[in-house]
């Protein structure tokens, strides 16, 4: 096939002042300039992933979660996309400042990504083994034979039987679940430190999804790879991750451990989302509904971008943007949880307003028994 390219430069060790954060994203903003205007697909997103840990990025379609991942991997076409501001620090180095060559060394080697549609992510004209071996040879200085051996080994690692035979097969000869396993094998073939999985199981049946999720968990346990899991499925999140970042309209609306966010959601969007999921014990009750639809991406509402749909909305919401501040303050983008600035009202009055908003919401929203209600959440 191709002759072996000279090995790409090995990235320098981490800068001395890093904590044990593997990946830090700070105030990332990615804009798309299109015919009808500018879309702020990612509008100030910050989070961090520690070594070996799992973080889940949760949100519905259009919230910017996939764009965030693609920005981290720098896989976006720069026009029309534009990384307006922000830092992405991987092991202390600013990813956005790397040259193309350094970035290629990073991709696949240190950070790997798997996508939702395994059929379109695999090249249909090459065998599966070829594709994995290619990824290996790109990053490690090994012979062709050894690369193929590694490919076979990685297929075995992801639980594919008779990998020697499978390695010669083409993607279309495999089922969806098998192809996703191949993708995972390819992603892990160079032992990356971080695996980004963008809706890896959405296109799969639920029993196959169970297989794949178990596989990912096992591999994580064995190799210590950190995982950034992007999904809209809160059930998957509950099973797989330590920390959760909830996104809406390009912004982070809530962050925390999975127990905090799923059992005691603070942001009204998170709460609404959880209450919309039908589950046991909800039969006969009306499902909670988040009124309205996601706002027009060209024309995001002023202030809190969830305000038009929020049952708890009160005065400061359409005026001031309740972003999560770095360093201190609750990790919720909501005026129910912090004092609105420029609003300059005393704490007591603020509390009264918040309580009034909650009462108003409670009288509108039907009681749902499955999810712990908002009112018990600690301040």
């Amino acid at each position: 096939m191709t002759t072996a390219a000279p090995p790409l430069p090995v990235p320098a060790g981490p800068a001395p002042d890093t904590a044990d954060y593997l990946l830090e994203v700070r105030d990332l903003r990615t804009h798309f300039h299109v015919m009808d205007g500018t879309v702020k697909a990612v509008d100030g997103v910050s989070f961090a992933v520690k070594r070996g840990e799992t973080i889940g990025i949760v949100g519905e379609s259009g919230c910017g979660k996939s764009v965030t991942a693609l920005t981290i991997m720098r896989l976006l076409d720069i026009p029309p996309a534009e990384i307006a501001t922000g830092e992405i620090l991987f092991e202390g180095r600013d990813v956005l400042a790397l040259s193309d060559r350094e970035m290629r060394a990073l991709r696949g080697n240190d950070i790997a990504m798997i996508f939702q549609e395994p059929m379109t992510s695999l090249n249909p004209v090459f065998t599966v083994g070829n594709q994995i071996a290619e990824a290996v040879r790109l990053h490690l200085k090994v012979s062709r034979r050894e690369a193929m051996d590694r490919a076979i080994e990685s297929l075995r690692l992801v639980g594919i039987n008779s990998p020697e035979r499978r390695v010669k097969q083409y993607p279309h000869e495999m089922s969806g679940g098998m192809r996703q396993r191949v993708m995972i094998a390819m992603a892990l073939s160079c032992e990356p430190k971080l695996l980004i999985a963008d809706e890896p199981t959405t296109a799969l049946d639920v029993t196959i999804q169970a297989q794949i999720l178990e596989l990912i968990r096992r591999i994580q346990a064995e190799t210590g790879t950190a995982l950034m899991l992007i999904t809209h499925d809160l059930g998957v999140v509950a099973e797989m991750v330590h920390d959760v970042v909830v996104m809406y309209g390009g912004r982070v609306v809530e962050q925390g451990t999975v127990d905090e966010v799923l059992l005691q959601p603070r942001h009204p969007y998170t709460e609404g989302l959880l209450a919309s999921i039908p589950s046991k014990g909800m039969r006969g009750a009306r499902l909670n509904v988040i009124k309205g639809t996601v706002p027009n991406p060209f024309n995001m509402p002023k202030g809190c971008n969830f305000a038009p749909r929020c049952p708890y909305r009160f005065e400061p919401c359409p005026e001031h943007d309740p972003r999560i501040e770095e360093g201190g303050g609750p990790p919720v983008a909501c005026w129910l949880w912090k004092q609105a600035p420029g609003h300059s009202i005393p704490q007591e009055l603020h509390d009264q307003q918040v309580a009034a908003a909650r009462r108003a919401a409670a009288s509108n929203t039907p009681a749902t028994t499955a999810v712990p209600t908002y009112h018990e959440a600690p301040r």
């Binding site: 299109v34 015919m35 009808d36 509904v289 009124k291 309205g292 038009p308 749909r309």
Partner: protein
């Protein structure tokens, strides 16, 4: 337990009015404030897919340039020959071997010598090349447009029949199409023009049109085959819409996008073909003028260094074809439903 779970049967007919009064169903779907918001939008006209496509086309720079050039050419060949018709007979006293280069020429008008502009120069016989170009354009573009229309019409009909009926009919028609694709196109056109052509526009239009329809037929049929499985077609069948209406109201309009693009390119192709065939002497007869004819005759001039006789008709062809190709690109981008819904 299953027996108890069934709700008591309701009286039909009270449904609608009851619902509209209560609006319980709709209340959590219509958000407050949606009403005011929408009012501003009501004023804006709702755009159909065709209108959206037209808007996308207008924003495509190359396409607009192409359209501009094309319209310019079309207007020129329509209007100018009214004032400067092509005269077949030779102009006495104007012949000059090698013709005269672009600039001014002297002509005998009513017994007096006059200087007349000849922006494109003259031919060996003293004809104004500009006159050739605008008059020749009428025939060349007519061939382009009408053969495109014939090919389009036949192609759409055949493709629709094949796609709609499927089965044996489809098979048979597609084998016919395959035969057409297998024939060496240029040779057939030449042979047909030689033996069936009578040197006029109609023959050429028929020949080119009837040899180009298979491309369109294939495109239409392919669209039919894929659209037949579309959910909205099933939906129409589910409410009882008849097959014929489905074919014409549902499938065909959605199948037209690739066809429109292909037809514009066919038009460009036809213009080149006309030039080719006429150049070899099998196309438009000598008593009339087309771009191809002009090129054929211009070969004589080259010997004398008369480059303008061939250059300007050739440029006209090139420019027209280029303009049509740009338009075709723009149409393809504009009609592609995948771009931005």
């Amino acid at each position: 337990m299953a027996e108890d779970a069934r709700p008591p049967p309701r009286r039909p007919g009270s449904g609608i009015t009851g619902v509209l009064h209560r609006r319980r169903i709709a209340e959590d779907l219509i958000e407050e404030g949606q009403e005011e918001e929408r009012d501003t939008e009501v004023a804006l006209a709702s755009m159909s897919q065709w209108q959206l496509a037209a808007r996308r086309f207008r924003k495509h720079k190359m396409a607009m340039v192409g359209l501009g050039i094309f319209i310019f050419m079309a207007l020129s060949i329509t209007l100018v020959p009214v004032f400067q018709p092509y005269v077949f007979q030779n102009i006495p006293g104007a012949s000059k071997a090698g013709g005269e280069p672009p600039g001014e020429v002297t002509r005998l008008v009513d017994g007096q010598l006059q200087a007349q502009p000849a922006v494109f120069g003259t031919t060996n016989e003293g004809r104004d090349v500009f006159n050739l170009v605008v008059n020749g354009g009428r025939i060349s573009m007519a061939v382009g447009v009408f053969s495109m229309l014939i090919a389009g019409f036949v192609g759409v009909v055949v493709g629709t029949v094949a796609g709609y009926f499927g089965g044996a009919i489809d098979n048979m028609l597609m084998r016919v199409v395959d035969v057409f694709f297998a024939i060496p196109f240029l040779f057939v056109i030449l042979v047909a023009a030689r033996f069936f052509g009578r040197g006029d526009v109609l023959s050429l239009v028929m020949i080119i049109g009837l040899l180009s329809w298979p491309l369109i037929a294939r495109l239409v049929r392919a669209s039919f085959l894929s659209l037949r499985e579309a959910d909205f077609v099933d939906a129409a069948r589910a409410v009882g819409v008849g097959n014929l209406r489905i074919a014409f109201r549902h499938i065909l309009p959605n199948a037209l996008s690739p066809v429109i693009v292909a037809m514009t390119l066919l038009m460009a192709n036809a213009i080149v073909l006309e030039a080719f065939v006429s150049f070899l002497g099998f196309g438009i007869r000598d008593t009339e003028i087309s771009w191809g004819n002009a090129l054929a005759n211009a070969q004589e001039g080259i010997r004398f260094g008369n480059w303008w006789w061939a250059f300007f008709p050739g440029m006209a062809i090139a420019l027209t074809v280029l303009a049509i190709n740009f338009m075709g690109d723009g149409l393809r981008d504009a009609l592609d439903p995948r771009s931005r819904e």
